[in-house]
């Protein structure tokens, strides 16, 4: 017995496995011809078997044929029963095309061929077979398309197909889609409420947009008004007019459109009625010229009503009475309250989780914005924070760094390589510019900090204009390489672009490097010595001129590197620097001058703060910036020396 079954099974399997192989050799025409009768004149009851047989062959040309057959675009030649497509239905004679190769197989008059015209029932069955075909497609994209199509136009017949597919699907993205689609179909088509509730509960914790949309569909409501609450509706909420989601005017408008109350007349309509009833310069006995107050108009209108020339306006009391006499409510389209309650509970759970993810996503955004501020400000942390020089041209060093990146990219085609070249080159260019500026201008002004501000401002507008002369005002393309262009997506809520991760890493590297330079090297020691007390440093054998020059160059060079990074996501235009200059100064001041760690804290605070304000009003980043600056202004009142204030001798005065 066992043996027999085994043999039978292995036979069956081998037949199953071999069948497609055979089918590949046979042309689709041959296969179709074996079922010619059923295809030419299909019936709703028997076509299923035929389709199963066809699908079992797995022939590659079959989907095309099924699609055409379903949409009545396939024909049969009367003479020999050959199945064909037709090039142009209106042509005469008709040109017949082969169903596999698409080549012309002959011509025929319109009476020599018969169109295959499956009826509605048959077409649905064909559609089911087609979906099955697409769901089993080799190409994951095609499978996803099929799922998309089902999602848009679900049908009960899809249910077993989806269930079957879920068992064997290996692609994680498609599997995730199936995980939502199956409950969606169950919710829509399962007979038993308990099954539907179970399906809803399988969505618990699924934060994907599809899952949320599915549940929201279950919870879709419509607003009704009636004399009393109907017994058989699934009521979502009873609304009281004039509060929350239902303003008084809107509620009354609902009554009017349901013809449960007379319309109220707006001031505009009243005016039109009055204008239509002017008799000898008077309306209802009131002279037209005096109708420039609402009271006069009401009097005139009342007179018209008394004469029967106008509709009476319901008074406020009438309106209140009408509103009180009716009940307003939102009702679910879904009749079963068990299902809607389950969906509500599940959706609430999901929303809580989404909220947590959003918060995490916002934190990522905040960190990334903080890294941008940090990167923009870190050069200033040295020139302004450590040396005390107000360099208004700092933004222009950032801009020049970005343009260096652009120029390198025009010379080196490989994006990755060009960035690798641009980073050190931008440092060199801006380092040289910084040293030049320090030697020629700033060193004469160390004892006059406010005038440094004016001189560097002059340099800033000159540099901006020179760049504008060379490169023009329009934005220059500076494109990140592919590996930086995408984004890392964790789920439908959390995603972050790769370039922001790169900027964060760059910020971390800068921070560590600068901290090491300032605190662990000879140069850093000398820099700190010179900034604290130049005369004493000089008498210890340090050359303050040289140190100042190098420090300023270092700060400028770092601004150049930051410019390359910023240029990768922001627009490279001549005045891009001015977008960063005020924020950068604020970052340094808030953090506390004189140490790199302060700048890090300042940038984190400003970036985090701005994103948290955006949380309350995500569409308005300008407002977030405004309030962030106001906060900074207030913050400085309480900690004038910044978050990390230097103490003792290091603080200078």
């Amino acid at each position: 017995m066992h043996l027999l079954r085994r043999i039978a099974m292995s036979l069956a399997i081998s037949v199953f496995l071999m069948a497609p192989a055979h089918a590949q050799d046979a042309s689709l025409q041959d296969i179709l011809q074996t079922h010619a009768e059923e295809i030419a004149d299909p019936s709703r009851r028997t076509v299923g078997e035929t389709l199963d047989a066809l699908v079992a062959t797995g022939h590659p040309d079959l989907p095309e044929f099924l699609t055409r057959w379903q949409s009545r675009e396939a024909w049969q030649r009367d003479a020999d029963g050959l199945f064909v497509y037709i090039e142009d239905e209106d042509a005469d004679p008709l040109v017949l095309l082969d169903i596999s190769t698409g080549e012309t197989v002959g011509e025929a008059g319109s009476r020599e061929v018969t169109q295959l015209r499956p009826n509605g029932g048959v077409r649905r069955v064909i559609g089911g077979a087609l979906v099955q075909f697409q769901l089993g497609a080799e190409d994951p994209a095609a499978r996803l398309d099929a799922l998309e199509a089902i999602g848009n136009d679900p049908d009960e017949s899809h249910l077993p197909l989806i269930e079957a597919r879920l068992e064997v699907e290996e692609d994680p993205a498609i599997h995730a889609r199936l995980d939502v689609l199956l409950p969606a179909l169950l919710i829509a088509f399962a007979e038993d409420d308990a099954d539907r509730v179970a399906a809803i509960q399988t969505l618990d914790g699924n934060v994907s947009l599809d899952a949320r949309a599915t549940l929201n569909r279950v919870l879709a409501t419509r607003r009704f008004v009636g004399a009393e609450l109907p017994a058989d509706t699934n009521v979502a909420a009873i609304l009281s007019p004039g509060t929350g989601p239902l303003p008084r005017d809107e509620a009354y408008a609902m009554l009017v459109s349901a013809e449960l109350a007379p319309a109220r007349i707006s001031r505009e309509d009243q005016r039109a009625v009055l204008a239509a009833n002017v008799v000898e310069g008077r309306v209802g006995g009131v002279p037209v010229a005096t109708l420039n107050t609402e009271a006069a108009r009401d009097t005139a209108y009342a007179a018209l009503v008394a004469e029967g020339l106008a509709e009476p306006i319901p008074t406020e009391a009438d309106v209140d009475a009408a509103l009180a006499a009716h009940v307003f409510f939102d009702a679910y389209s879904e009749p079963s309250s068990i299902v809607t309650e389950a969906a509500r509970a599940t959706l609430d759970n999901i929303e809580t989780r989404v909220g947590a993810y959003r918060f995490f996503d916002l934190s990522l955004d905040g960190i990334s914005l903080a890294s941008i501020y940090f990167l923009a400000a870190i050069g200033l942390a040295i020139t302004f924070g450590v040396m005390g020089v107000i360099n208004m041209a700092h933004g222009e060093f950032i801009m020049i760094g970005a343009y260096t990146g652009y120029v390198v990219q025009t010379l080196i085609a490989d994006y990755t390589l060009s960035i690798a070249v641009a980073l050190p080159l931008a440092f060199l260019v801006t380092f040289a510019l910084g040293v030049l500026m320090e030697r020629s201008v700033i060193r004469w002004l160390y004892h006059r900090p406010l005038e440094t501000l004016l001189a560097t401002f002059g340099i800033s507008i000159a540099l901006q204009q020179i760049v504008r002369q060379i490169f023009g005002t329009q934005a220059r393309p500076f494109t990140p390489p592919d590996w930086l262009a995408g984004s890392v997506t964790i789920n439908d809520v959390i995603s972050i672009s790769s370039i922001r991760i790169a900027i964060f890493l760059l910020g971390v590297i800068f921070f560590i490097a600068l901290w090491l330079i300032l605190n662990r090297t000879r140069l850093g020691l000398e820099v700190r010595a010179v900034t604290q007390n130049p005369a004493m440093a000089a008498s210890m054998g340090i050359n303050p001129d040289r140190i100042n020059m190098l420090t300023f160059g270092l700060g400028s060079g770092i601004a150049g590197i930051a410019g390359v990074a910023i240029g990768l996501f922001a627009q490279v235009v001549p005045d891009m620097g001015s977008n960063y200059i005020v924020q950068s100064f604020m970052t340094v001041v808030v953090g506390g001058v004189g140490n790199v760690f302060g700048t890090l804290v300042g940038a984190s605070m400003i970036g985090g703060l701005q994103k948290s304000i955006e949380w309350f009003n995500p569409t308005n980043t300008l407002a977030a910036q405004t309030y962030m600056i106001l906060f900074v202004i207030l913050f400085i009142q309480f900690r004038p020396r910044g978050i990390i204030a230097l103490r003792g001798r290091a603080a200078g005065d």
Binding site: R267, R271, L274, A275, V278, V283, V288, A289, L291, N292, T293, E294, R297, G388, I390, M392, V441, W444, L445, R448, P449, L450, E451, L453, L454, A455, F457, G458, I459, S460, I461, A462, L463, Q464, Q465, I466, R468, Q469, S578, V582, F585, M586, V589, N620, L622, A623, Q625, T626, I629, L630, V632, I633, L634, I636, Q637, F638, P640
Partner: protein, 387 residues
Amino acid sequence: MSIFTQNRSVRIFIGILVLFTLGVTVMSEAYGTGAISVSFTKVLGMTLCLCLAALAMDLVWGYCGILSLGHFAFFGLGGYGIGMWLMTARTEAVVRANLAGGVIPPTEAEVSQATALQIFSVVGAEDWPWMWAASDSLFLSLVLIVAVPGLLALVFGWLAFRSRVTGVYLSILTQAMTLALSLYLFQNDTGLRGNNGLSGLQNIPGAEAIGQDRISIWFFWASAVALGLAYVAAAWLISSKFGNIIRGIRDDEQRVRFLGYRVESYKLFVFTLTGILCGIAGALYYPQAGIINPDEIAPIASIYLAVWVAIGGRGRLYGAVIGAAVVSLLSTYFTGGRAPDIALGAFRIEWVDWWPVLLGLGFVLVTLFAPKGLGGLVDYVVRKDRA
């Protein structure tokens, strides 16, 4: 009026201002030969307003040592203050004219509604924002032109000086203030028409029959009077004991504090007073400019104000006026496209493009080599003819 006898610069300045005003009037289109066009009259009037703002900047920076990089915010607030009234009154007149054609005369509510729609439809709103509450009254608007910049300066100054924010930190803080204000105004939903700003301000309500030629010269006179009065008042202030104290604060704040003066109060008074002066200057400036938008308040405008004072020579009132007049008129000349280009063979120097470079390098040179600014030249001449 002992100020005239005490201070020679006041006499000379007022004399020059009167002569200049008379000269412009005689050459104007409305009252004279027409040698100066209406638009150039407006440029001159606007320049006088900028001189007034520079004068205020000189008081607060040159005499009191507070380098504010936010005084143009007060200037802009004054402009918005007068602009709201001008725009409301003007639009209301137009709306009334339109509605008068109907069968039924309009009610006040309808006029107000239609006016609001006309003004705010550009930012997708149709109701009056709260800050326009005073815009239908000229008197209240004039009060606000003084009160709003004054109050902002008072509150900001009180916060900043109380916690001893000084020097470059104060500069950065004032810069943040003006940036915050301009970002706030840039938003469409904050009630001042976002980046569209206020426009049509050259049309004075109730003066439709009077041509721009006469209005332009009237505003020129008003600006000249305001500048003259402010100059005399400032000269009186700085020649008093008060002036000595604020100069003391500039030179050594700590020492003045130890002498028993309330340094913060003095600074706050100067900061607020100059804020109000800038507000008045703005209120006179923008009806001549015809349009105001948040760009005007961008931080760079306030830096320019400081640069004018530096170029003119700070710590002397006429220096600020000279600096503002020279730099802004030269900028108008060179960027207006009327300056002749210089051809250098294949290369051609176009002033519109190269003027900012020249200006920027000019700032550097003045800071490095002429810390006293153009006003220093006056010293040179004056000392020479005394010797």
